[in-house]
């Protein structure tokens, strides 16, 4: 084996620079940020956040040109790194939600932490890992992308150095993340042992879930899924989520609950649709249980929360269950519908959840509290914020005509199209939970609209411009996806999302 490797002639791999342009822009940008931070005077450090935002927008540009030029699949390194429509849509999602996080942080970090350069460098590094994840079509590149996006996130979670809660967040996230990586690696090594290849497509042909070595196959599949279930905080692997979300700086919480989670779902979809399509008898029941338990437990725990960030944390756990739902019927139902439902849900959920966290940040500038009770009287002194927050909460609850409704509609549609008893049961469980979830979203709405301010202080909130921009972007996206699900650009996006290139 080794002698064969040495003897074979090295062929320069074909590199498609246009297809790699988003990654190249990000990579060069990260190097630039480090240097900029080192040689910039303390009084001009604000430049760093501006440059970080520009780099992200600069990386969106090639994604757009690639999308406009055509739908041909660009494959590199023997199909181990593929740029297709699915990956383009998700790259745009990761970069834009990263941009919103930069908008949200530029005020927050200036006030709370002196390490601006490192903060944005790590944030961009993590986003680069996600962008790589969207294109990875090989166990090794999936794993490298996963570590690329996780390791900076561990540090970012612990960013408030002097705050013991933030330290706890970083530590918990790190330990559980590493544990999940270890489990996943073990699963990957088993899969490689069974199939003799690390390419997802090859694994998809070899893993059937029926023939000999079926026990090893099942172990491999389950371990890999468990690894990513940690990443997407599916119950019972969710225990880190509320503590980490509460302790981390709020923009990072938004980032983790949206982008990092989306990256986990991207990896899960890659595995389910490319690596395990023939093994649906193995992954479907497993994901079915995960989805049902995640939705239910997330909701029940969210009902009891008194802190808004913890409530949003459990709500995001439960939303993750809805995204797992189409994956749980990916084999029996229509694969394209399921994949499209996952991607659409990720996009809409990203806009909505980022927006909700932006409002939380804006309000906490005045109240300095995360308690749900502190939202009393918000409508009286900040009607705009209350209205926008209502929009986001209604979208999360799935009330028409906001984006979340359309996302949930897609997920239910995918499940119902599977036409099996298990699928119908899952749909019923999810439907009941949708009603339950409305309870805690509406509790917060009632607090904002009907209760008086708890301390009687009704001076208006000063919302910085960056935060306003973030709110406008996420608010418009949330509204547009719900009101105009048929408008042409959006239809094109969802159409694009429905297929993998090989």
């Amino acid at each position: 084996m080794i002698s064969a490797l040495v003897a074979s002639d090295f062929a320069t791999p074909h590199v498609d620079y246009h297809a790699l342009a988003p990654e190249i822009v990000l990579g060069v940008g990260i190097c630039l940020l480090i240097v900029l931070d080192l040689f910039l005077a303390e009084s001009r450090k604000w430049l760093v956040s501006t440059v970080a935002g520009l780099i992200l927008l600069g990386a969106v540009l090639p994604v757009v040109t690639l999308g406009v030029i055509g739908s041909d699949v660009r494959s590199m390194f023997d199909g181990r790194y593929v740029i297709d429509n699915f990956s383009l849509v998700l790259k745009a999602l990761f970069l834009l939600s990263g941009y919103v996080v930069v908008l949200m942080s530029s005020r927050d970090t200036e006030e709370r932490t002196p390490y601006q350069g490192e903060y944005y460098t790590l944030l961009l590094t993590s986003i680069m890992g996600m962008v790589m994840m969207a294109s990875a079509r090989d166990l090794v590149s999936v794993f490298v992308a996963l570590e690329f996006l996780s390791i900076p996130a561990y540090m970012l979670a612990a960013w408030r150095k002097r705050d013991s809660k933030s330290n706890e967040a970083g530590m918990k996230y790190f330990l559980l993340g590493v544990f999940a990586s270890a489990v996943m690696l073990y699963g990957m090594s088993l899969l490689y042992g069974v199939t003799g290849s690390t390419r997802l497509v090859d694994i998809g042909q070899a893993v059937t879930g029926t023939d000999h070595l079926v026990g090893v196959q099942v172990l491999g599949i389950v371990f890999v899924i468990v690894g990513f279930a940690f990443k997407v905080s599916a119950v019972p692997f969710h225990t880190w989520a509320p503590d980490v979300y509460q302790g981390a700086p709020t923009p990072i919480t938004a980032f983790l609950s949206v982008a990092s989670k989306a990256a986990g779902f991207v990896a899960l979809s890659l595995l389910v649709f490319l690596a395990f399509p023939a093994a649906k008898s193995v992954y479907e029941p497993f994901l079915w249980v995960l989805a049902a338990v995640t939705i239910t437990v997330g909701n029940l725990l969210a009902l009891k929360q008194k802190n808004i960030v913890r409530m949003l944390a459990y709500s995001s756990v439960s939303q993750g269950g809805f995204i797992l739902m189409p994956l749980a019927v990916a084999g029996t139902g229509d694969a394209r519908t399921s994949l499209r439902a996952v991607v659409v849900y990720l996009i809409i959920y990203a806009a909505t959840n980022l927006g909700a966290f932006a409002v939380v940040m804006a309000v906490s500038r005045k109240t300095h509290s995360g308690e749900i009770a502190s939202y009393g009287g918000l409508f009286n002194y900040a009607p705009g914020l209350a209205a926008v927050m209502t929009l986001f909460l209604a979208s999360l609850a799935g009330i028409p005509p906001f984006g979340g409704w359309y996302a949930k509609f897609g997920a239910f549609k995918a499940v119902l199209e599977a036409r099996t008893g298990a699928a119908y049961t899952l749909a019923v469980i999810a439907a009941v939970n949708t009603v339950v979830s409305a309870a805690y979203y509406i509790t917060l709405m009632r607090e904002m609209w009907m209760k008086p301010a708890p301390d009687g202080d009704e001076s208006p909130v000063r919302v910085p411009r960056n935060l306003v921009a973030a709110l406008v972007i996420t608010g418009v996206a949330t509204l547009a996806f719900g009101v105009l699900p048929g408008f042409s650009g959006y239809g094109a996006i969802t159409g694009l999302a429905g297929a993998f290139g090989r």
Binding site: F10, T12, I34, V35, L38
Partner: protein
């Protein structure tokens, strides 16, 4: 017995042999040698020094930075050596790739230098 297990049989026999040999040598010496323990014999032998203070000793936290910096160069070496042996084969492509790799690591060093991690305060 499958072929797979048969190949591991060698490993098994080696393990048995190692255990036997070690047990035999220690066992014989235990039987043969006289046993007269004294306090003197329990002291550190020849080159050893009597331990002073707690087992929970502290070391300079500053060494930690140097350990991290060492990792930068260590990783660099791990990748450069195998690359250097096949330099001609990889050609210009390999050279550019390695240039990028070394540049990124150098950036780390520049960062450490500007932040004052190289100064012994």
């Amino acid at each position: 017995m499958s072929q797979f297990l048969r190949e591991y049989l060698t490993v098994f026999w080696f393990a048995v042999l190692a255990l036997l040999l070690a047990g035999l040598l220690l066992g014989i010496s235990a039987l043969v040698r006289p046993n007269k323990p004294t306090a003197q014999k329990l002291l550190a032998y020849e080159s050893g020094v009597d331990p002073i203070g707690d087992g929970w000793s502290q070391s300079q936290v500053r060494y930690y930075f140097f350990a991290l910096l060492f990792v930068i160069f260590d990783v660099e070496a791990v990748f450069i050596f195998p690359w250097a042996t096949q330099l001609e084969r990889y050609g210009t492509f390999g050279l550019v790739e390695m240039g990028i790799f070394v540049f990124v690591l150098l950036l780390g060093l520049v960062y450490a230098w500007r932040k004052g991690a190289l100064r012994w305060v």
